[in-house]
C-alpha cells in the first residue's frame, strides 16, 4: 500500500490522498470529511494537502472524478458482452443501481449533490466525465434505433429519459424509500419494462 521513496519525499501522495479520501467519503459521506483526519490517515500533516490541491474543494473535485472512473469501471463490463441489445441496456441500468446501493455516499457525491454548483464554476473536466458515461448510453440508444428496436427520435433525449429514470430509482432507493430495497429486482424490472415499452416500436 505505502509506496514510499518512489518518486519524491513521501511517494505518490497526491494519488494516495485521492484514494483514501474516496474511501473516507464512501464510508462516512462527503460532509464528514476533515483534512486533519485525512492527513493523519495518510501519514502526513494536514497542510501537506495544500501542496497538491488548492483547497478542500479542489481535492473533492478530484475524488469526484475518481468516483466517475469507478462508476465507469463498474458499468463497462455490462456493455461489452454482445448479448441482445435490450439485455445489455437492462444490465447496464442494473449495474448502475447496484453501484449506487453499494456506494451511496460516492453516488451522492457524483449526482444531485450540493457540490455541483461549485463544480460548475471551476471545473470543466466534469462535463467531459459526465458526458463520457452518458455517451455510452447514447451509443446504445443509437444502436437500438438502428436495429429498429426503439422509435426514431433524438437519441440524446431518449438517453436523457432513460438516465433520468435509472437515476431516479437509484436516488430514491438510497435516500428515501429504503424499505423498497427488498423488492429491488422486481421494482427495477418494472421500471425498465415501463421505460422500454414506452420507447419500443410496436
Amino acid at each position: 500500500m505505502n509506496k514510499k521513496s518512489d518518486t519524491y519525499h513521501h511517494g505518490n501522495l497526491k494519488e494516495e490522498l485521492i484514494s483514501i479520501a474516496l474511501e473516507m467519503i464512501e464510508n462516512e459521506g462527503v460532509e464528514k470529511i476533515t483534512l486533519r483526519e485525512l492527513g493523519s490517515r495518510v501519514g502526513t500533516s494536514r497542510s501537506a494537502i495544500y501542496r497538491h490541491f488548492s483547497s478542500k474543494n479542489d481535492l473533492i473535485q478530484s475524488v469526484f472524478i475518481a468516483g466517475f472512473e469507478k462508476l465507469d469501471k463498474a458499468i463497462l463490463p455490462s456493455l461489452q458482452n454482445d448479448e441482445y441489445i435490450l439485455t445489455r441496456l437492462f444490465n447496464m441500468g442494473k449495474e448502475y443501481i447496484n453501484f449506487a446501493i453499494k456506494n451511496p455516499n460516492i453516488y451522492r457525491l457524483l449526482f444531485g449533490n450540493n457540490f455541483s454548483n461549485e463544480r460548475e464554476e471551476s471545473c470543466d473536466i466534469e462535463d467531459k466525465e459526465i458526458a463520457c458515461g452518458f455517451h455510452y448510453l447514447v451509443a446504445v440508444v443509437v444502436q437500438a434505433q438502428e436495429k429498429k428496436l426503439f422509435k426514431k427520435d433524438d437519441p440524446m433525449k431518449q438517453a436523457f429519459v432513460i438516465h433520468a429514470m435509472i437515476h431516479g430509482v437509484a436516488s430514491m432507493l438510497i435516500d428515501n424509500h429504503s424499505h423498497i430495497k427488498e423488492n429491488l429486482d422486481e421494482i427495477y424490472k418494472m421500471s425498465f419494462d415501463t421505460l422500454s415499452s414506452g420507447m419500443l416500436l410496436k
Copy 2:
C-alpha cells in the same frame, strides 16, 4: 413582517427562524447557512436559537418539514381540478418539476441530500411527510386503475416508478444537465409519454 410583543419577548421567534432559514437555504444552499447570520438576520443573537432548537440539525429538520409543506402547496392545485385523470397526473409532475427548478436548493434539501441519514436517525415525522405527498400520487394511480386506464398492478410500486421518473428528471435538470432546460417542455412530455405508454392498458 416583525410581529413583536405578540406572545413572548420577541414574538414568534421559532416560526420566524424557520421561515428565514428556509429563505436563506433557498438562496444559498443548505451548506452555506450559519447560525450567526441567521440570528442577526432575524434580529437576535446566535444562541437564542438554542431555546427553540436543540441543534443546527434540529433547525434544518424543521426547515425540511416546512419545505415539504411548500412543495405540497405548490402541487395541490394541479390535483384538485377534475380534468381527465392523466392530464391531472401530467400537471402534477409538471408542477413538481417546476418547484424543483424554482427552488433547487430546497429541493436538494428534501430529496437526495446528505441530511437524509441523520434525519432517518432522529426524525420520524419525516416519513409521514414524505408519505403524505407520495400518497397523493398513490391515490391518483388507484383511480387510474379503477378507470381502467392503468394496468392492474401494485399501486405503490407503480407510484414509485412514476415518482422515480419525475424525480430523476427534476434532479438531473437542476444538478447536471442544465443545458436541457431550454427544451424542458419537450423533455418532460417525452418522459411522461414514455412512462404512461408503459403503464397504459392498450
